[in-house]
């Protein structure tokens, strides 16, 4: 009975939020609509972060790398190929997936905090690269004057902020729906199983490495597609869009949303990014300080363990630095007999 009521309430809230999102551009000015569109794109990146962090148990700080790859590919290459948004999306998703595929060897054997470290390094290096590769990305000056796109063949170009927002909303909703659908199948079950007990899954004959590689590439594709949406939403790109701060904000959003929940990650990230944008407007000059304090406070206020297992695979403290294999340790139960 109670469970049904909660479920109905949840559905009601979801419907209300969706309706609010559809109607939002008519309630706010153009500038806010553009900001909202950008926030939604970031929300989609957060979904990819949640896919890796919460569902697959690979905490990541580097999803800005495929995000940037998708955005710049969409802006540079997409503009030459076609002006159809769906083509841009596909091109960007392929670019994001390709970058993720290149970095698969780096993460496929790592778990826990090691993944955080490696992905952070990859994401930061990607930003440095974007800032220095002037001939293609425009360097730190950014890439302006990006042509407008039309959503599908034969449709008018997205000329207003409202149209661009609605396009972003539709794409985000479709992709999030797709991710949720896939997670309801056997694939989602296997991913969660890999997170919760990798050794057991491996023992039962599943190829966990392949699975990790697959989810990493898929998350890269989602983040890449989000990059294309960013291009449409703000029609300007600069390395600042993909900085370390963005990764951290996304992670905060994902953690607030309950790391294993894809929908929660979207909502959490949207709230966090909107809060950041509001802070920068309301407290010019003080925003980083307040934002930093918000990070610290959130960590203390978040509900502690108990209601979800830690979203990290493997041991809590991976024995980094040890060169000794576990097999050399004396068995605690005196297995010599």
């Amino acid at each position: 009975m109670r469970e049904q009521a909660v479920r109905a309430l949840r559905r009601g809230v979801a419907a209300a939020v969706l309706a609010g999102l559809v109607l939002a551009p008519w309630a706010v000015d153009d500038y806010t609509a553009a900001l909202l569109a950008r926030t939604l794109a970031l929300g989609l990146v957060a979904v990819s972060v949640a896919l890796l962090t919460g569902v697959a148990g690979l905490p990541t700080l580097g999803q800005t790398a495929p995000y940037a790859a998708g955005a710049y590919t969409s802006a540079v290459l997409g503009g030459q190929v076609s002006d159809v948004g769906v083509v841009h999306l596909a091109v960007a998703a392929v670019a994001g997936a390709a970058l993720a595929a290149v970095t698969v060897p780096l993460v496929v054997h790592a778990r826990g905090v090691v993944v955080l470290m490696i992905t952070l390094a990859v994401g930061e290096l990607a930003v440095v690269l974007v800032g220095r590769w002037r001939s293609v990305t425009g360097g730190t000056d950014g890439l302006a004057g990006i042509a407008q796109v039309r959503p599908l063949w034969g449709m008018p170009v997205l000329a207003t902020d409202r149209a661009r927002y609605l396009y972003t909303l539709v794409v985000v909703a479709a992709l999030v729906g797709l991710v949720l659908l896939v997670l309801r199948t056997r694939v989602g079950l296997l991913l969660r199983a890999g997170r919760d007990d990798e050794a057991r899954l491996r023992a039962s004959g599943h190829r966990v490495s392949l699975q990790v590689a697959g989810v990493h590439v898929a998350a890269g594709a989602v983040a890449g597609a989000a990059g294309s949406l960013l291009v449409v939403a703000q029609q300007y790109l600069s390395p600042a869009d993909f900085g370390f701060e963005t990764s951290a904000l996304l992670l905060l959003g994902v953690v607030i949303g309950g790391a294993a929940s894809v929908g929660g990650a979207l909502v959490g990230a949207v709230l966090v990014v909107a809060g950041r944008d509001w802070l920068f407007g309301a407290l010019p000059g003080h925003a980083p300080l307040v934002l930093g304090l918000a990070f610290v406070v959130t960590v203390y206020l978040l509900p502690g363990g108990g209601h979800r297992p830690p979203p990290v695979r493997g041991r809590l403290l991976p024995d980094v630095g040890t060169r000794r294999a576990a097999g050399e340790r004396p068995a605690p139960t005196g297995a010599r007999a």
Partner: protein, 294 residues
């Protein structure tokens, strides 16, 4: 002289690379300690370096006493900041890697914005002691005296660190905590105190690197990010926990950032990336093999 000409443009960058690499090593050594011992990814590590750098910019006036004073103040301030990070990383805050990362990143944001508020948003000029301000002739090339002295001092620091980790009781406890924290606790040494000590020591190293390295990677709003990135790359390249590996990786990164840029300016942005990809692709399996057998 004809033999000298092709070498000429590369000797100075190569020496620069050694200075740069040793600086990155001293900065990254603290990160290795935190990461290896406590499994903590301290994203505020770059800020600890920046504290040292700003101290140097504020206190150095061209004399030797000011250098000693800056070194003392910088190391103490960064050590205190490291201990503060350890204090805030309570059991609640550090329950998962995610909350750890969020907390330390929040502290980095706060620390960075406080530093900018105190010292202004511009890169700070740093005055080295007058005696080291000139250049000396090394094998027929003029080279900045400060950097030469820095290479010696940083090498000395690296050596001392190696001795401290390998030969002292504190170093043994730290290494024991890496291998088996529970056993260390059973021996009567609180792992919490080891963790606090390691984070404070990491702060001290970062602070020393910040003061001494201020003329090389100067204090500014970007310093913390740059140092964190370089340290991360070096720690990952060095095999995540090995001091020797970290030293080699730091020297390699130093050469990539200086000699690599001099040799192939157009490829420079990709060199770090390529180095990391190459090393990890080769080593990933080996690293994982030790870790997976749990």
């Amino acid at each position: 002289m004809a033999v000298d000409i092709p070498i000429d443009p590369y000797v100075v960058p190569a020496l620069d690379g050694v200075a740069y690499g040793l600086l990155v090593f001293v900065a990254a050594a603290g990160l290795v300690l935190c990461f290896g011992v406590a499994g903590i990814l301290n994203l505020a590590h770059g800020t600890l370096y920046a504290i040292g750098g700003y101290t140097a910019a504020a206190l150095l006036d061209g004399g030797w006493p000011s250098l000693l004073l800056a070194l003392a103040v910088g190391v103490i301030a960064a050590t205190a900041a490291g201990a503060l990070v350890a204090g805030l990383l309570t059991r609640v805050a550090a329950r998962t890697h995610l909350t750890q990362a969020l907390l330390t990143f929040g502290l980095a944001l706060v620390g960075g914005s406080l530093l900018v508020r105190a010292f202004g948003p511009d890169d700070q000029p740093v005055r080295v002691p007058a005696a080291l301000d000139g250049s000396v002739v090394v094998a027929g090339h003029r080279y900045a005296a400060y950097r030469l002295v820095f290479i010696v001092v940083a090498a000395l620091l690296a050596g001392l660190l190696h001795l401290a980790v390998r030969r002292t009781r504190a170093g043994m406890l730290v290494r024991a905590a890496v291998d088996d924290a529970e056993m260390v606790a059973v021996l009567g040494v609180s792992p919490t105190w080891i963790r606090v000590g390691v984070l404070a020591a990491a702060g001290a190293l970062a602070g020393a690197a910040g003061v001494l390295g201020a003329p090389i990677i100067g204090p500014g709003p970007d310093t913390a990010d740059v140092v964190l990135l370089l340290s991360l790359v070096v720690v990952v390249l060095g095999g995540l926990g090995s001091m020797t590996g970290t030293l080699l990786a730091a020297l390699a990164v130093g050469q990539i950032q200086t000699l690599g840029v001099a040799l192939a300016p157009s490829a420079a942005p990709f060199l770090l990336f390529a180095a990391m990809a190459a090393v990890l692709a080769v080593r990933a399996r080996g690293l994982a093999a030790t870790r997976r057998t749990t």
